[in-house]
């Protein structure tokens, strides 16, 4: 049985900010804990905010050169403060949280990572982890148009990248489920993105009998499994906390109608 890494609460400083339209990639420096798994997340404090109160759960996008990467979408007052952060700003972070993606041991595992929007974030660290373990994943990313494809160069480093855009300005026009990446056989699929995208990908996997993991982002308060606010209904255990049993679940565990 895997033992969860010890959680820490520490201040991290913004070492670099890469603005990307309504998104920003923050590279944070600080005392990173050991044993961070792809698919895990952090709880980041939005200090001195008049309109928000709780921390914001943000996926771990990458861990590289001792820096923690957080890809943030400007989705409200809390994340807006993060997107507007400047080099040197400090944020209090609790991490690593949650149960991440399965990292297959076999180097021959054929795995597809599917993502869209800010959901591509945890897939980057998963791709890197797989790459470091000798697996070259296929990666299919969906975006509205060419300009909206996030972290393209980084993904290209770790796997075979396939792009789908709504307007056809890059890669294959249409949804990621119509991408020719699916012509191949896969042993496992990992998906993170808008719920309709995850449902569509999970449906394909169900039809083909491929194990599929989805990463959920239900509204959270504590992120520690105490408040029982972020629950998802499961087949074997009923309501479970997305923050501790997830955020990554095998689709077979969930009561999703596919």
């Amino acid at each position: 049985m895997e033992v969860d890494a010890k959680k820490v609460m520490r201040d991290f400083a913004v070492a670099d900010v890469r603005p990307m339209g309504t998104y920003a990639l923050l590279e944070m420096e600080g005392d990173l804990p050991e044993g961070i798994m792809p698919g895990q997340f952090v709880q980041i404090e939005i200090a001195d905010s008049k309109t928000t109160y709780l921390r914001r759960p943000i996926s771990i996008c990458n861990v590289e050169n001792g820096r923690l990467w957080l890809l943030v979408r400007d989705a409200g007052a809390g994340t807006h403060k993060l997107v507007e952060a400047r080099k040197g700003d400090r944020f209090n972070i609790i991490m690593p949280l949650g149960h991440g993606f399965t990292v297959p041991a076999g180097k021959d595992t054929r795995i597809l990572l599917a993502g869209g929007g800010v959901g591509v974030a945890p897939l980057l660290y998963l791709a890197k982890t797989l790459h470091d373990g000798g697996i070259c994943p296929d990666i299919v990313l969906g975006a509205r148009s060419k300009a909206d494809v996030l972290l393209r160069e980084e993904f290209e480093r770790y796997g075979r990248l396939h792009i789908s855009t709504d307007d056809g300005s890059d890669g294959t026009p249409g949804l990621i489920t119509a991408n020719p990446a699916w012509d191949k056989e896969f042993d496992a699929v990992a998906v993170c993105g808008p719920t309709p995208m995850m449902r569509a990908v999970a449906s394909i996997c169900a039809g083909r009998g491929i194990p599929c993991e989805v990463s959920l982002e239900n509204m959270m308060a504590c992120g520690l499994g105490a408040c029982l606010c972020c629950v998802e209904d499961t087949k074997d255990k009923g309501n479970v906390c997305v923050c501790t049993d997830g955020p990554v679940f095998n689709i077979n565990k969930l009561k999703w109608q596919l």
Partner: protein, 302 residues
């Protein structure tokens, strides 16, 4: 060195800081991040006779300086607690462990208390007659003096150790309810549970919570809580435990000056998991700086 010891109806606490039920799990969830044994005690998640799945999602909505919740007492039931959780936490933590007990009927409350009574480390129960998120029981008992008195009388007969009644603020006179439970033999009252509230997502034209209404907690409710603690502490002879929006030492001191013997830290722990521990240290420092021999010297000075 000043003493932070307080006595809650026979229950000795090393300091007046407790964690509020439903906000701190069973302590284990926070143990990586804070020293549980630095607290006077922890009050564990609301426990019912049978397991409960709670309400459907969404159960939470952030609001200015606080949040609404509609968890609905999700828990695995008292037998699971006794068999699986109690042995672990009794071994791991030395601070007091208080069980928050909830029910739909009077018999639910008394039966849970009977089953907990043999556990040596459970020296107190907090009876939840104030949960706004369940259809039956819960707050229904806590909103009338007769209902509150009836539960207290029944539980008093089933529970020989310290009995704390947790009161709802969603009433016309919380003082009358407090007097009613005191008359039936409660050793202490804790207040306030969450205030009934509601929030609407105007873009989707839908309520934010699956249950439409929920319980408001966090700094937003603090002034209401301080006022109610002050009123109740003046009116009853039993110790009052104050809670509602306490985030730091200053907040805790407000409640103590208003008349609280102990305090509970709740929602603040979601933002700062160390909040309760920091308050325990902060109260000690306050006593030192102000030359107090005991924290009791400032209790109820308003």
């Amino acid at each position: 060195m000043a003493t932070l010891n307080v006595n809650i109806g026979g229950l000795e606490l090393a300091n007046p800081v407790l964690t509020a039920s439903g906000t701190f799990g069973y302590g284990e969830e926070f143990a990586d991040l804070t020293d549980i044994n630095a607290l006077g005690g922890i009050i564990v998640k609301g426990t019912t006779l049978a397991p409960r799945q709670g309400n459907p999602a969404p159960r939470m909505a952030e609001t200015p300086s606080g949040m609404l919740n509609a968890v609905g007492l999700q828990n695995k039931g008292v037998d699971y607690f006794i068999e699986h959780i109690y042995p672990r936490i009794a071994e791991r933590f030395s601070s007091e462990i208080i069980v928050n007990v909830a029910g739909s009927t009077i018999d639910d409350y008394t039966e849970v208390c009977r089953r907990l009574a043999p556990l040596p480390r459970i020296r107190a129960v907090e009876i939840n007659i104030s949960c706004p998120n369940v259809k039956q029981g819960g707050m229904a008992f806590g909103t009338t003096t007769d209902g509150a008195a009836e539960v207290t009388r029944a539980v008093r007969a089933a529970w020989p150790k310290t009995l704390i009644m947790k009161l709802s603020p969603n009433v016309t006179s919380i003082v009358d309810i407090a007097k009613a439970v005191e008359a039936e033999g409660a050793d202490s009252v804790s207040l306030i549970n969450t205030l009934m509230g509601m929030a609407i997502d105007v873009k989707r034209r839908r309520p934010m919570l699956s249950t439409i209404t929920g319980g408001l907690s966090g700094p937003a409710v603090k002034p209401v809580a301080v006022r109610m603690v002050w009123q109740v502490a003046k009116a009853v002879g039993i110790p009052v435990i104050g809670l509602g929006g306490i985030s730091d030492t200053n907040d805790a001191l407000e409640f103590i000056m208003a008349g609280a013997t102990a305090i509970e830290v709740g929602t603040a722990g979601f933002v700062n998991p160390r909040a309760a521990e920091e308050i325990a240290l902060g109260l000690a420092a306050y006593c030192e700086e102000n030359g107090l021999k005991s924290i009791s010297e400032i209790r109820g000075i308003i």
